[in-house]
Amino acid sequence: MPQFFLNKRLIILLVSIIVLVALIGFSLREREKLSWPEQFVKDTTGWVQSLVSKPANYIAGFFENLQDLQNTYNENKELKSRVEKIASLEAEVQALKKDNSDLRDILGETKTLRDYETQPATVIGRNPDRWHEMIIIDKGSLKGINKNMAVITANGLIGKVKSVNQFSSTVQLLSAMDPKNRISAVIQGKKSNVYGFVQGFDNKEKLLQIKSIPSGAKVEKGQTVTTSGLGGVFPGGLMIGKVVDVKTDQYGLNQMALVKPGADFYDIQNVVIIKRSMTQPAKKDISNGKEEEL
């Protein structure tokens, strides 16, 4: 047996496995903030990355423009037909908006769950190992970005801010598998809305799963899914995607809708970070004191 313990390599291996488990355990737990050495390394590499990726973005944009030129004619024809509808739609939206704000003034409820401020940002990096779906953006806490803010592109919601540094932050995409990643969503029906949670991503089919939909609720293909704002973190009304399929969930108690995300999770260059205007209720306001005594 003494020979076994004298084997230096074996001991190094064992010690490093222990250190590995400890480190993984340390970084997996729910952390409010990254430690400062991590922030420092991330900011430094973020600076180098933005030096490289901004010219790269520019060049990629140039080639994309060239490609766009090729099908300009067809696009133009299609867009023209749509523009005519848009004018009348816009007028209607204006009228409704004004109506809405007037009525709100009368009620005295000026804030809504849908109000938010925006902060544009550029993507400067993406996780190359592609297990943990994350992107790095070039705005950090100095620009007022906080953990858990929603991140969207022009086509819809793509994820939430996972961690913030001074000059850069990390965004976790909706396609990442994270059991803590639950977003309260609403499926807009003609008569009534149906509520559920975005929970999980089907990697093979590239579809989002919306779970906890009551079994009686009627969900149809093609309905639009947006955030509801009831989760307390995201504002309401951010586009998520369209329903493509409805199933009963594994226990047969609830329904599960498969949703094709509106945003492309791959070709992301510019994003918008959403700061919710309405404040988050404090924990003690949600749960009444009596319950906690029990």
Binding site: Q49, R126, H132, N203
Partner: protein, 172 residues
């Protein structure tokens, strides 16, 4: 000058990986295939093969740590796997001759080891729930093809550079 060139080269590969993923269209090799670039690790393996075990493992550990902090936010996975696979590869190279074809085959093997290792770890901590057979088809084979192509192009200049570096180290 020479001292800064090697870290700079790896830093470049480190950023190139992220840029590659950022600008790669979603479906290159058909539907849903995932191509993970391992340019940095290919470079680290070639360093281990052509320069030496000590340099290889030290660089692997440092860049593994940076990779963990910047891209993964879970410290430990690459910090452990990069040096571990580099060590195994250096053991294999004891019995093999360090020419270009052998280095190519051994590097591809090393990348396969790394991929399987990362998959097992991520499966363990519930980052993924992909079945092993799906992992092979959707991820491992496309990744190996991509990195083999990268190695085919860059193995010659990297080998020349690393051998010069090794000579310079010996002279000191």
């Amino acid at each position: 000058m020479r001292k800064f060139l090697l870290p700079l080269l790896f830093m470049l590969l480190f950023i190139a990986e992220s840029l590659f993923v950022q600008f790669l269209p979603a479906d290159v090799l058909g539907q849903n295939r995932i191509l993970a670039p391992r340019f940095l690790f290919s470079g680290l393996l070639l360093l281990t093969i052509f320069v030496g075990r000590k340099q290889g493992i030290i660089y692997a550990a440092i860049f593994g740590l940076i990779f963990d902090i910047v891209y993964i936010e879970i410290i430990g996975i690459y910090l452990f796997l990069f040096p571990f696979v580099a060590y195994l590869i250096s053991k294999i190279m004891h019995v093999l001759q360090a020419n270009m074809i052998v280095a190519f085959v051994v590097s591809v093997f090393g990348i396969a080891l790394l991929e399987v290792g990362v998959y097992e770890m991520d499966y363990l901590i519930h980052v993924t729930n992909l079945e092993f057979i799906d992992f092979l088809n959707l991820r491992l084979y496309p990744t190996l093809i991509l990195n083999a192509a990268f190695l085919l192009i860059f193995i010659f200049p990297l080998k020349r550079y690393f051998e010069k570096y090794a000579d310079a180290l010996r002279d000191e």
